[in-house]
Amino acid sequence: MSQWKQTPSQTVGPYFAYGLTARQYNYPQTSIAEGAMAGEEVEGERIRVEGRVLDGDGAPIPDAMIEIWQADTRGRYAHPADPRGSNAGFTGFGRTGTGTDPKCRFVFDTIKPGAAAEGDAPHLNVIVFMRGLLTHVYTRIYFSDEADANAADPVLSAVPADRRNTLIADRDGNTYRLDIHMQGDNETVFFDV
């Protein structure tokens, strides 16, 4: 039995912006990550991923923070556990708050990830934080124009069929849109990661 037990999570609260997303909110501190994730040198198809985070009344949440973690265009993660290495200059990590957009959207400008393994569909790994969430929640964003890959994806296949649509962003030009529903009939699937 381990004497080292997990430190409990606590809410990010209402005032994370100047600490975690300072540049986006115009506070005088640098940020380790932003919604703009891919510089010009990064290989891959440029996409925008945007959406709102909605509460149990269907109201857009203006103080949520979204983080995404993704593979590069060839499906490689920029991390030592992925021996394939990754795209120069692409960390694969983005972070943005919903408080600077007039419609309370999160907006990521990134590249479309490749599939990380055979049989997997391309996806973004997502963490949602906000005031009123004592423990952060994990979800994923898949892409509507990857129907065949999505049908074969083992994670998506393990989700009840009538809830899979909560994880699939609709493509419109180069923009993918998906709202995250914290509650309600269309509650987003959150994973026990």
């Binding site: 506070y27 969430l133 004592l134």
Partner: protein, 237 residues
Amino acid sequence: MADGNSITPRDWAAHPPLIHPDYKSTVKRGPTKPLVPIRHSLSELTGPVYGHESLAPLDNDLTKNGAKNGEALGERIVVTGRVLDELGRPQPNALIEIWQANAAGRYVHENDRHDAPLDPNFFGGGRAVTDAEGRYRFYTIKPGAYPWPNHANAWRPNHIHLSLFGPAFASRLVTQMYFPGDPLLALDPIFLGTPEGARNRLVSDFSLDVTEEGFALGYVFDIVLRGPRETPMEAGR
């Protein structure tokens, strides 16, 4: 069977539930349906990598990094500790981001309307990266308590917000560090949302050893993250 590709599960005996009605904002924001199990793949077992190159020289010194024309006001403190996994192994190169109220209990955040003064020489945000022994160190000002609208006469205990990246996306942690002996802890629905047996892990220890004579009181706060499971191979070493 050896399984080097997994990480310990989230310990729900440690973490607060997604809906905790005493903390009112959880009622409309916490998911209501059961979390869907997921088999860990590279997506969960990798995560963003930050190291010492991510830091500027004053990032871990909040007493100085917001100074404009003088000293930050309040009680100077040192906050230090180790970041470990559940086997007690130090986690080097772990990025810790912190943010907090000033000594008067006011955040620089533009939405904070608490009628307490801002300190022109205190910003309240900082960063550190753990060393080879998993150790981090911040210099800051003890944050003040402040009122919030959750219920009548509600006050948050003194606390510092911390955000950590461990070895993987699955080990991500955002938490709050509290101070020993704070009478507001017993009244705070955010602190009390934590399962009882795990609450004391959120309270730092005062340490005379860490206290710097004539300068700053010392507090120790160790943080335990989810980590890779011990594999049979490692256990035999």
